[in-house]
């Protein structure tokens, strides 16, 4: 019940998306032309929400008796989610036409998943985390299998669903134990009494269950089994959404529950856990990616190793590392969405042409695509002065500040390994003859998405301090 009706106005970003979902459902029911209307409606909504969030970044409030936070850190996450989703929608328009499988649910599900992420990133109560997580995950399960006639999409969807629901089971059980140990689900209470609770065995056990569940969602080793299959089997645009914004949402929750460690310098009792999963993820992802022949699968393993780099920040656990993680997530969202969009342009019907061979001689067919793909690959590899480099740089610096030099060294080592398979894409595009003869129909909408992503990567790479100052000013 509203103590103050003004609270609804402060919750504007979430309300825009929620009302938009209702309107989209009505559009889908009433008109036959929803295929032309819905994508533009969604894009307008996402851009509106993104810019509303950015311009209200200084209005930091906790609303509805400590349930949800707006402004500040959630505003930055809202920007990442909404711009990412807008680019994905832009690249989906012609991709769905190519496959001839348009279902009106597609855009509505993307909108709902974004709403879930926004609830997660602003959560101030474990109940909100849970509701947001499930709203996002259930939409992703359906989106992964949206192409329901295709067996590979079915398989991806089922694997994602079974392992995602398994992770949810862990999260709920962890929440039950946390509630038993603390007697409340408020994050505020969790943050204030974190040090006292850390010696309570039930609390630590519950927290570890919670972290295991979220390690599934961020795709960290040893909870990564679903990642390659799901990323390869799902539609390429859907993969780009769930590998970037989904990961960002899961990290936003980890940052929220560990606020005590980051902001108030509580001892990071979970540091061994994060250090282990991050070291394993970085090395495993980078080494296994070398042997891949399918580009989507290669990017899936690269996604695992990027989860490892970001988890270094969680292990480091200081204020600077949070800013580093958020910077990294923003950069990673644009690099990965760009790369997957280019794959979705080159891809033919029926999953064909996603191998390295199909990209051979891409420079002769389309210099623009080859150049932007090279840019995204260099950014993912972390070559300066692109955004990917600064993401890694800030996280590694934070690790060294927290005396985790060995983890930073492992990170650098794994980056060096990963350069091999990213550069291989560039070599194939520029220095090999085209092995297959096919014509690429470049969709103008997808190309706009690629250009926007490339623009953000260059801006974040050339002016990293600007973004970093915005992030640091938004943190409490």
């Amino acid at each position: 019940m509203p103590q103050n009706n003004y609270e609804y106005f402060l919750l504007m970003p979430q309300i825009i998306i929620a009302v938009g979902i209702v309107l989209s459902v009505l559009i889908e029911i009433t008109t036959k032309k929803s295929e032309q209307i819905l994508p533009w409606f969604s894009i307008a909504m996402f851009f509106g929400t993104a810019f509303y969030s950015v311009f209200n970044i200084n209005q930091n409030f906790v609303l509805f008796s400590g349930m949800i936070e707006v402004g500040g850190k959630p505003a930055i996450f809202n920007f990442i989610f909404n711009i990412g989703a807008a680019l994905v929608v832009l690249s989906s328009i012609d991709y769905l036409k190519k496959y001839g499988t348009y279902y009106g649910e597609y855009y509505i599900l993307i909108q709902s998943s974004v709403l879930g992420m926004m609830v997660m990133s602003g959560a101030k109560d474990i109940l909100m985390i849970f509701m947001g997580l499930e709203l996002m995950s259930i939409c992703f399960y359906v989106l992964a299998g949206i192409n329901r006639k295709k067996l590979s999409a079915n398989e991806a969807s089922m694997k994602y669903f079974l392992l995602g629901a398994f992770a949810t089971g862990f999260i709920v059980y962890g929440i039950a134990l946390l509630y038993g140990a603390t007697g409340t689900t408020s994050i505020q209470n969790l943050v204030e009494n974190f040090v006292t609770y850390s010696s309570n065995i039930i609390f630590v056990l519950g927290f570890v269950f919670f972290l295991i569940g979220f390690s599934f969602k961020i795709a960290a080793v040893p909870f990564h089994m679903w990642v390659p299959d799901v990323y390869q089997g799902s539609a390429t645009t859907v993969t780009s959404l769930m590998s970037t914004t989904g990961k960002a949402a899961a990290f936003s929750v980890l940052i929220i529950v560990l606020t005590a460690v980051f902001t108030f310098n509580a001892p990071n009792v979970f540091r061994p856990y994060f250090a282990t999963i991050s070291a394993l993820s970085m090395l495993f992802g980078s080494i296994v990616a070398i042997s891949q022949t399918n580009l989507k699968r290669m990017l899936a393993y690269s996604s695992i190793s990027h989860a490892g780099y970001m988890a270094i920040g969680l292990a480091a656990g200081n204020m600077f590392s949070v800013a580093g993680i958020i910077f990294y997530l923003a950069a990673y969202a644009f690099m990965n969405i760009g790369a997957f969009t280019i794959i979705s342009i080159v891809e033919g019907e029926d999953d064909s042409r996603t191998d390295f061979d199909s990209f051979s001689g891409l420079n002769d067919k389309s210099p623009v695509l080859a150049a932007t793909m090279a840019l995204f690959m260099f950014a993912l590899a972390g070559i300066p002065p692109l955004a990917g480099f600064f993401g890694k740089y800030y996280v590694f610096i934070a690790a060294i500040q927290s005396k985790l030099t060995w983890l930073a060294i492992l990170g650098v080592l794994s980056s060096v390994i990963s350069v091999y398979f990213y550069i291989r894409v560039v070599v194939v595009m520029y220095f090999r003859e085209a092995s297959e003869d096919f014509k690429i129909n470049i969709s103008p909408y997808s190309l706009i998405a690629v250009v926007i992503a490339a623009f953000f990567i260059l801006v974040f790479g050339i002016l990293p301090d600007t973004l970093m100052n915005v992030i640091l000013s938004a943190l409490p």
Partner: protein, 122 residues
């Protein structure tokens, strides 16, 4: 502590023994002259057709699933209805509007299902 439960165990044991005695005494003492018609499953006097383990059409599943989704709303409506008088006293019309929004959104989902032909049987 555990002694408190002895009456329950006694009831369980007695009821098992009583049930067993009643069932088996009729087969033990009663006359048995089985014929084919007597052994047939009871189908209101008709001859039974087909097997007892029949597969049910997948459409039945879809309707059941929809029922479960729209049935679970009661979890939220029921506590609200129980507390409604108190809430109305404190918040006036604002006790009513959130539930109205919730139900409208829910029914919109139902409308979507209907418009997409989710309830068509064939």
């Amino acid at each position: 502590m555990i002694l408190d439960y002895i009456p329950i165990f006694l009831v369980i044991i007695v009821s098992i023994i009583f049930g067993a005695v009643v069932i088996f005494s009729s087969t033990l003492f009663g006359p048995q002259r089985p014929t084919k018609i007597k052994l047939m499953p009871y189908e209101s006097g008709k001859n039974p057709v087909g097997t007892t383990h029949e597969r049910i059409s997948i459409k039945y599943y879809l309707v059941t699933m929809m029922f479960i989704i729209f049935d679970i709303e009661v979890v939220y409506v029921y506590p609200w209805a129980v507390e409604f008088k108190k809430l109305f006293g404190e918040h006036g019309i604002f006790a009513f509007i959130p539930m109205l929004i919730f139900l409208v959104v829910l029914e919109l989902g139902f409308l979507y299902l209907y418009a997409k032909g989710g309830l068509k049987w064939d």
